[in-house]
């Protein structure tokens, strides 16, 4: 048996990186502010919201995929957007999937910062936004961890990618759906190659985040 690394698998790998990368950025754009606000502010219902995001941490990807499919398929309320079977649908689905991870990890990172830093910043005459930024700077390691974990969850998940994209050759086929198909087709050479690539990506991302953190520390 030989490992098969051909142009198709490289294209699929790049598509995987692109879709999960954009999904992570998209999710960061709303999860980071939400996480910082929950971590910093005190407001009624705060524990309820924290509990909500924590409960969603392990949301089954197939359940989320199914739910979004019902929303965006032709007969769903958002069917007119014509999103089903496009990379955009996969990006949106994965961004939603990883939102609880981003929010929960960011919240804990922010909460673990010594409250004295906030007070210190305030006594030095910082505005609320500056205080938030100061805390964010201190909790940047935790945020890095949140981003890494989110990206890895996105690139390694199957349910949303499959139900949004249906594994269309050359269009929505990503590493996980490709592995599923090639497993069904019993093409061990390409299945193992794709699995190794996926593992390498996940390890490489974690490792580089680790190195960045250590250099900062």
């Amino acid at each position: 048996m030989t490992l098969e690394i051909n142009s198709e698998i490289i294209q699929i790998t790049l598509r995987s990186l692109y879709i999960s990368g954009v999904a992570t950025l998209l999710s960061v754009s709303w999860s980071l502010p939400i996480g910082v606000i929950i971590g910093l502010k005190n407001f009624p219902g705060k524990h309820l919201i924290k509990g909500f995001f924590n409960a969603l941490l392990g949301i089954p990807t197939v359940a989320l995929g199914l739910f979004i499919y019902l929303l965006i398929s032709s007969s769903g309320p958002f069917g007119f957007l014509n999103l089903w079977l496009t990379p955009s649908a996969m990006i949106i689905g994965q961004a939603i999937l990883i939102t609880p991870i981003m929010v929960s990890f960011t919240t804990s990172a922010v909460e673990s910062i010594d409250p004295k830093i906030k007070d210190l910043a305030r006594t030095l005459g910082a505005s609320e936004t500056q205080v938030s930024l100061a805390v964010l700077r201190e909790s940047v390691n935790g945020v890095f961890l949140a981003v890494t974990a989110s990206f890895n969850r996105a690139i390694a998940e199957l349910g949303v990618a499959y139900m949004m994209g249906m594994n269309l050759r050359g269009r929505t086929r990503v590493l996980t759906t490709y592995i599923g198909l090639e497993y069904e087709r019993a093409n061990w050479g390409s299945v193992i190659a794709a699995a190794i690539i996926l593992l390498s990506i996940v390890f490489a991302v974690s490792l580089s985040m680790n190195l960045i953190q250590r250099r900062r520390a």
Binding site: S73, S74, W84, R171, A186
Partner: protein
């Protein structure tokens, strides 16, 4: 403070819109399709797992400004997608469901595109001794051998055309399928044909397979199973294409579907079907049906197809032909 939250919301919405629409633009999908029509075809796994449809897709897309989106699932699921309006046409192999699909007003313009045979495959040692038996005898023997613990039967169990065929064969053999499915020698994979063959191979068990998928897996050395019963009239397998009814689904890409059906039944499309796999397997995985039915070149076989897959004497009764009588010239 409220103004800041407002800014955040605007920023987030902007990021979302820009990244999603940027992606759509980059891939040329959704509202940004680059002048090419997106035709969603839901299809049975056997046509897909063999790679035939990939070959057809490439040739078709090179010729027409239509991109084919192939969703591979069992016939039951393929039809469900079409009924929900998520696909524009279907490629399936289950005449009874196809008939209902036409009669309930979901589909029009059915064309039979290809045929081959189902086959009962099993281990070379053939513990149930079915080699050379008729289908009915073979199933009887498998039940006896299964109950004595000598072998297993692997079923698709996924509501696919092959699964329906299997149930009808048990029925024709006078065996109550609902009863045997709970016995411990009867396993259901709930998966596609390829994976079911792999499971059958693992257990050295018997299963019903379509010839195309079996040949591919066998010749590629992925399974060590033998054809034990095949080629009989009761094992005929007929593939058809049906377009979704534009009256029922105004948003369906109807003309695109007709274009694709015309390609499938054209000399070129039929040649791809008949030649697919010839070089590698020394025999075709599927046989083209259009010329056979038109010229009646093998009357016995044509009669089998008519018995099995025609509705009231037609491959598509006239009231379901929409405005395309030319398909049936």
């Amino acid at each position: 403070m409220n103004r800041k939250i407002g800014m955040w919301v605007i920023a987030i919405v902007l990021t979302a819109v820009v990244s999603v629409s940027g992606t759509a633009y980059y891939f040329g999908v959704g509202p940004f399709a680059k002048g090419r029509t997106k035709l969603v075809v839901s299809t049975t796994t056997s046509l897909y797992d063999t790679g035939l449809l990939d070959a057809i897709e490439d040739q078709f897309e090179a010729k027409y400004p239509i991109d084919i989106y192939l969703i591979s699932a069992g016939t039951g699921i393929a039809i469900t997608y079409a009924q929900r309006g998520d696909s524009d046409m279907i490629l399936v192999h289950e005449p009874s469901r196809e008939r209902a699909f036409l009669e309930e007003g979901y589909g029009v313009c059915r064309k039979i595109i290809a045929y081959n045979f189902f086959t009962i495959v099993g281990p070379r040692s053939d513990p149930a001794g079915i080699n050379g038996s008729s289908t009915t005898e073979a199933l009887d023997k498998i039940v006896a051998a299964g109950r004595s613990g000598a072998t297993k039967w692997i079923s698709r169990g996924d509501d696919s055309g092959t699964h329906t065929k299997e149930k009808s064969l048990w029925n024709a053999a006078g065996i109550n399928w609902a009863e045997i499915r709970d016995e411990d020698w009867y396993l259901e994979t709930g998966a596609g044909m390829g994976q079911t063959l792999l499971v059958a191979d693992h257990f050295s068990a018997y299963t019903l397979a379509d010839m195309g998928t079996y040949l591919k897996y066998e010749k590629d050395g992925k399974i060590d199973l033998e054809v034990l019963v095949g080629q009989g009239q009761d094992l005929l397998n007929v593939y058809s294409a049906i377009a979704c009814n534009k009256t029922r689904f105004p948003k369906a890409i109807f003309e695109g579907a007709i274009t694709f059906i015309k390609f499938l039944i054209s000399d070129e499309g039929q040649r791809i079907i008949s030649e697919y796999g010839q070089a590698y397997y020394n025999q075709g995985l599927f046989y083209p049906a259009v010329k056979l039915l038109k010229d009646n070149s093998d009357p016995a076989l044509v009669e089998w197809i008519q018995d099995y897959a025609f509705f009231d004497g037609y491959e598509c009764p006239p009231q379901y032909r929409d405005d395309h009588p030319e398909l049936y010239g």
